[in-house]
Amino acid sequence: MPDAGYTSDEMMTIAAARMIRDGVTLFVGIGLPSAAANLARLTHAPNTVLIYESGTIGAKPSVLPLSIGDGELSETADAVVSIPEIFSYWLQAGRIGLGFLGAAQIDKYANINSTVIGGYNKPKVRLPGAGGAQEIAAFCGEVLITLRHNNRAFVNKLDFLTSGGYFEGGDSRQKLGLPGKGPTNVITDLGILTPDPVTKELTLTSLHPGITAEQAVAATGWPLKVAAKLDTTAPPSPDELRTLRDLNERTARAHAGQA
C-alpha cells in the first residue's frame, strides 16, 4: 500500500524490530531478521547483543551484512570465535535469549522448512538447507519468525521439517527435550501470529493497518484461528521509517560499491 506511506515489507520489518527487548542477546539469521535486529539496535534497543553464526559476538554493523560473515561484523564485534565454538559454547549452551529466523514454509505449529519444496530426493525447488536454523530454533530462549504471508508459505503440511517449533503442538516440544521456549511470535506482512498457550496452534492476534482478517485467513493454507480480541499493529513511526530507510540506503550503497 504505497498510499500508506510505507510498504508492507517495511511494516513487517518494523513490527518485528519492536519485539526485540533492549539488552537481549540475539542470534540473527541473514535477510529480514538482520534488518529488524539492526533497526531495533538503532532505535529502542541500543544495547542488543547481536550474535551471528559466523562467530561474531556483539557485532555493531553500520550497514546490513549481505552474508553472515561479512568483515563489517567481525571488525565491529566484541569477540570473534570459531564456528565449532559459537555452536557449542554459545548457542547449544543455552546462553542466547532470542533467535530470529526466516523460512520458506511454516505450519500451524510454527515448524519451518528451509530445505526443499517437493520431495527431498526429487525436489521441485532445492532450498539452501538448515544452516544454523535447527539449533537457533532448539536452543534460544525464545524465537521470532518472520516471512511473507501467502498460501505457498503458510502450508497445512510442510514438505520438510527443517527446524522445530511446537512439532505436533501441545507439550510435544518439551517431550522431545528441546530447552528453548520455542517461537513466540510470527511476524508477517499482514499481521502477527502467536501460539495458543495450550494447543500451541498459531493464532492471528494482530493485523497491520489496512489489512483484514479475511485477507490473512485467505493467505493461510490451514483454517487460521483468529483471536476474539484482534489488535491493530501501530503504523511505522516517522523515526522508525527514517532509520530503516537510511539503513537500507547505506547498505545498498556499500554493497554496490564493492567491485
Binding site: I30, G31, E53, S54, G55, T56, P65, L66, S67, I68, G69, D70, G71, L73, S74, E75, V80, S82, I83, P84, F87, S88, L91, Q92, T115, Y120, N121, K122, P123, K124, V125, R126, L127, P128, G129, A130, G131, G132, A133, Q134, E135, A138, F139, F160, L161, T162, S163, G164, F167, L176, G177, L178, A254, H255, A256, Q258, A259
Partner: protein, 285 residues
C-alpha cells in the same frame, strides 16, 4: 612439513580423482583460486565437504568435478540459490550428484571430532527434524550418566583440506584472523592440506593466541594474492558483493555458465590471468 610451491603444483601433487576434499571458508577467506585450479586440472569424482558451499562449489559442480556433496547450507548468501547445485540435484546436469546433508552444528562437530581423532562428534541437535530421516550418518546415543539422548555424527576426515589465509612465513607457518570459521579443524582433520595465502612474510608478527597453523601440520603453502576473490581477506580486500549478485545471472543458464567458466577459468592459466580476463570482460560490458 609444508613445501612452499605454486598452486598448480600443490593441486597436482595433493588432489587425486575420487578424493574427499574440503575447501573451507565461512564467507571469509574462501579458497576460490584453489577451486579454479581444480577445475583447470579437471579433477573428477570428488566428494566435496563444506558447511556453506557457495559460488566456488557451484563452479566445481557445474564443471563436472563433483560426485557427492556433504554440506549444511548451500546458497548464494543474501542473493539466493546456487543454480548449478540445483541443476545437478534437480536435473542431474552435468551429472547426478549424491548429497549428504547436515545442520551447521553437526558439520562443526564432525570436523572437530576429525581434528581430535575421535570417531564421532556429539551434540544436542537434530532431534525431531526430518534431516534424520534422510541422512543415515546421523545416529543417537544415550549419556551413560543421565540417559540423555544425544546426536552422533561420524568424524569428517577429508583426504585434502584447502583453505585461504592472510599470511605465511618463509618456514610455512600460517596466520589467519577475523572470521576463522571451521578452517583450523578442517585442516587438522585432513590427511593432506593446502593453504593459499595473500603474502609470504619474514615474520608473522602473530598477536598472542591468534590462529596459527604450524608448517609441520601442512602439506603445501602457496602465495596467491587475492586468492579469496570474490570472497574477502580481512586486512587486504573487501567482499565483492557485486560479483556475488552478478553470479546469479551467470549461473542461471547452462550455456551462460559454460561460456563464463570456459573463458575465465579454463581459458586462463592461473588466478591472476582469471582476474585480468574478468576485468577485461567487465570493462567491455
Amino acid at each position: 612439513m609444508a613445501q612452499i610451491i605454486s598452486l598448480s603444483e600443490a593441486i597436482r601433487e595433493t588432489v587425486r580423482d575420487g578424493d574427499t576434499v574440503a575447501l573451507e571458508g565461512f564467507t571469509h577467506l574462501i579458497p576460490f583460486a584453489a577451486g579454479h585450479e581444480i577445475i583447470r586440472q579437471a579433477k573428477r569424482d570428488l566428494t566435496v565437504i563444506r558447511m556453506t558451499p557457495d559460488l566456488v562449489y557451484d563452479q566445481l559442480i557445474g564443471a563436472g568435478c563433483v560426485r557427492k556433496i556433504v554440506f549444511s547450507w548451500g546458497g548464494n548468501p543474501g542473493v539466493g540459490s546456487l543454480h548449478r547445485l540445483r541443476d545437478a540435484v534437480e536435473n542431474g546436469w552435468p551429472r547426478t550428484i549424491e548429497i549428504e546433508e547436515h545442520a551447521h552444528a553437526g558439520m562443526a562437530a564432525a570436523y572437530s571430532a576429525g581434528a581430535a581423532n575421535l570417531p564421532f562428534g556429539m551434540l544436542r541437535g537434530y532431534i525431531g527434524t526430518d534431516l534424520v530421516k534422510y541422512n543415515q550418518r546421523i545416529k543417537f546415543i544415550d549419556c551413560p550418566f543421565t540417559g540423555q539422548k544425544l546426536a552422533a555424527i561420524p568424524a569428517h576426515r577429508p583426504d585434502v583440506t584447502i583453505i585461504h589465509a592472510q599470511k605465511a612465513d618463509r618456514q610455512g607457518n600460517v596466520l589467519m584472523w577475523g572470521v576463522v570459521g571451521v578452517q583450523k579443524e578442517a585442516v587438522l582433520a585432513a590427511r593432506r592440506s593446502i593453504v593459499t595465502v595473500e603474502e609470504i612474510v619474514d615474520d608473522l608478527q602473530a598477536p598472542p593466541n591468534s590462529v596459527v597453523l604450524p608448517a609441520w601440520v601442512l602439506s603445501a603453502v602457496c602465495e596467491v594474492k587475492g586468492g579469496a576473490f570474490p570472497s574477502y581477506a580481512q586486512g587486504y580486500y573487501q567482499r565483492d558483493n557485486a560479483f556475488y549478485k552478478a553470479w546469479d545471472a551467470i549461473a542461471r543458464e547452462r550455456d551462460a555458465f559454460k561460456t563464463w567458466i570456459g573463458r575465465h577459468v579454463l581459458g586462463t592459466k592461473n588466478f591472476a590471468e582469471f582476474k585480468q580476463s574478468l576485468e577485461a570482460a567487465t570493462s567491455h560490458a
